[in-house]
Point group: none
């Protein structure tokens, strides 16, 4: 049943289309969807986080607004470093998934590859205490991320 949050996410993405950023009124949007204003914050937090490749700016008071900015493509080399730093030595599944979705939106991986990456970091694969899971997931994920960039870099040789 196409969750409210999903609809709002879609709506915002359509609004953005090709633009690198849009501005909206939190209350208006909430009214449009007949929901609590804080629902908008929830959507922003869960679907437009930095890990998803967006930056949120806002301003309160009269004439207030919420601006959603799609982060620019950095140089790939730099980007990998940033991602690895973000992953660090421990990462939870949601954050990892956000990063993967971002890679897909930037067309750096195909849909199938994205799903493969998600399968690799899924919590259900790891029968361990949560903390250990996060540590292990980070290790596996780092490896896969590096491979993603390697794939992008070379994409030519045919020996596997």
């Amino acid at each position: 049943m196409a969750q409210l949050s999903d609809s709002i996410e879609q709506f915002i993405k359509e609004l953005m289309s090709d633009d690198a950023h849009i501005e909206l009124r939190r209350n208006e949007l909430a009214q449009h969807f007949g929901c609590a204003p804080s629902q908008i914050n929830y959507v922003l937090a869960t679907r437009f986080s930095v890990d998803h490749g967006y930056i949120i700016e806002s301003r309160r008071g009269g004439g207030g607004y919420v601006r959603i900015v799609r982060m620019q493509n950095r140089g790939e080399k730099n980007f990998l470093e940033t991602l690895l730093e973000r992953v660090g030595t421990s990462i939870d599944e949601d954050t990892a998934n956000a990063i993967i979705s971002n890679l897909y939106e930037r067309k750096m991986v195909t849909r199938n590859e994205a799903l493969l990456l998600k399968a690799g970091v899924a919590r259900n694969a790891l029968a361990l205490p949560v903390t250990a899971k996060d540590v292990l997931r980070a290790a596996v994920f780092r490896n896969m991320l590096i491979q993603v960039f390697r794939n992008i870099e070379e994409g030519k040789r045919d020996d596997v």
Copy 2:
């Protein structure tokens, strides 16, 4: 006779009819049959497992669902089953790599996907005693293998 589980199994199969996959609400279905929700899980586990040719996906929370995907052709189903059996609960890196190369040779995964899979099971990702590594690798690998087949089956939906 006609066990409850059998009825539920039939019901689901009729629901699917020609579709390669359906989505349902666990609680609704349970209510329809006047049984405990976990009964549905039992049916899924015993009649819609991978070795029966199905793959289950699900999501919790508001708007949650259970999706049942049927693998189209028998060959694929048996192959996945064989692979999962081969992987078992513990596998070393070389064996995993051999399986991946085989998938690539059969053109079931692209070169990039194969490399991604290898990255996911690489020993350097797992900072653990060897035995534990193998066990963990098996878990992650199983997950990824199932995803490979899922990709082959559906390759259409666009939600990542």
